[in-house]
Amino acid sequence: MSVPEQLRYSEEHEWVAGLGGDDGIVTVGITAHAADALGEIVFLELQPGEGDAVEAGEPCGEVESTKSVSDVYSPVSGEITAINAAVVDEPKVINDDPYGEGWLFKVRITEEPGDLLDSTAYDKLIEGA
């Protein structure tokens, strides 16, 4: 399973796109590795709504597959600017296209993100798992 090079990753298997952009808004999702490990995702709930604050490393939702339930963690601190209503409606999109249509939410970053991994480091993390 390839790990896209342009993204950054948390140890909780979320990806972050758009770091360093002009508007300070990043997109967050679940990695293909995590989606695959969970199995078919049947339920997604994101606790904070648009305009709410999230903090890096804090749970901000739940994702449920046929086999298990996991928390979703925000990999960055900031304010939620958008939630992907399409995946809340049809969570299986996360399995089908984790790095594209399956994005979860967007955050306007208020703090410089800390310990995110680059694709090489994340690849190592999941290889060792």
């Binding site: 199995g39 339920f43 449920e64 046929t66 298990s68």
Partner: protein
């Protein structure tokens, strides 16, 4: 270094790898959890046929003139009157009536029985059978490593198998077994399963497993299916899973399986005194079916609560049901719990559920 021994590979390990299976350590065996979509695998079994590797299961043979007497003493069932070629669902319990394992016992010949045990309990069952049969003329042989077990389950299973065997499948009743050749491989063909569908379980020599698998997998409409699909299939069919609905702290009556305890059989048996007392006393809890109204699945260990939030039971298995389209669960409900207004505490939130009769799914 891990203290755990590395998991065993079944004779079909390389095939699973080829198919890109998600392998997990299940009861000390590397088993396919799923190949692609567990929901598609589940549906294939309900509508066509699914192919399962169940080689982790234990096969323990009893041979000798007093084999049936030994089993009648060791197990809760009455095996002596069972005809050759038949099978029974039964249990082995501790002296206090707690369930050590649920089993299928096949009578292969007048003096030969095959006891099929859950992978996690092979050692316990083998030891208990050896100890309990000590006074009987029988030999207890754990043949688990020599047998591979391949199951073909689903409404299309009979047709697929019939095209590959001379064995008279049409005459093979549910819970019966016969010896035959399937795709050139010597097999014990049993009409048993754990999916709620018609289907077959094929016990073959480990060395023949790959050839038989490939032959069956090549048939039209056959989908390899993993443990994940097997779990939702058996849950829909209301079948208990050892470790979830059954364990050493559970007696057969609260699990709704009192019918398999033959208190009136001629033989005395281990656990009889305790089970007779349990049969005469109302159980403190009972196994029930729950259907969730929302989308959240009750999971093993979640609390069942009343409308005012009082705990009144515990979930033993739960998952989104592919057939029903809603989450379903089995749970132990305390006696005296209300039948309406129930909810399951899903990670701090009360999700309403309805009490239903088991099974959730019955084939038509």
């Amino acid at each position: 270094m891990s203290a755990e021994p590395s998991p065993k590979k079944t004779p079909l390990y390389d095939v699973h790898q080829e198919l890109g299976a998600h392998l997990v350590d299940f009861a000390g065996h590397l088993m396919p959890l799923r190949y692609a979509s567990e929901t598609a695998e589940h549906r294939a079994v309900r509508t066509g046929a699914g192919l399962f590797d169940l080689s982790h299961m234990g096969e323990i043979l009893l041979t000798g003139p007093q084999s049936s007497a030994a089993l009648d003493h060791a197990l809760v069932g009455n095996l002596t009157p069972m005809a050759v070629g038949k099978a029974r669902y039964t249990m082995i319990v501790a002296h206090d009536g707690g369930v050590l394992d649920d089993l299928i016992v096949y009578r292969l010949a007048d003096q030969t029985f095959m006891v099929v045990a859950n992978a996690s309990n092979i050692a316990v069952v083998r030891a208990a059978l050896a100890e309990r049969s000590a006074g009987f003329e029988t030999r207890v042989d754990d043949r688990s490593d020599e047998y591979a077990l391949i199951a073909l389950q689903g409404p299309a299973a009979e047709g697929i198998l019939a095209a590959r065997t001379d064995a008279p499948l049409a005459d093979l009743k549910y819970y019966a077994i016969l010896a035959g050749t399937v795709a050139g491989v010597d097999a014990l063909i049993a009409r048993t399963g754990y999916t709620g569908e018609d289907g077959f379980e094929l016990f073959v020599s480990s060395g023949d497993a790959v050839a038989l698998w490939r032959e069956l997998a090549a048939a039209d409409g056959v989908v390899p299916a993993g443990l994940s699909a097997r779990d939702t299939l058996r849950l829909e069919a209301g079948m208990p899973l050892y470790g979830n609905e059954l364990n050493a702290e559970t007696n057969p009556f609260e699990a709704g399986l009192g019918r398999v305890v033959k208190l009136d059989k001629p033989a005395d048996f281990v656990g009889r005194t305790a089970l007779a007392a349990q049969a005469a006393t109302p159980a403190g809890r009972r196994l029930v079916g729950l259907v969730a109204r929302g989308r959240r699945a009750p999971r093993q260990g979640y609390r069942v609560v009343t409308s005012d939030g009082t705990p009144c039971g515990i979930v033993t298995s739960g998952a989104p049901s592919p057939t029903l389209g809603t989450p379903i669960a089995m749970a132990y409900l305390d006696s005296g719990a209300p039948e309406t207004g129930l909810a399951v505490d899903v990670r701090g939130r009360r999700e309403p559920v309805d009490l239903v009769a088991l099974p959730f799914y019955k084939r038509s």
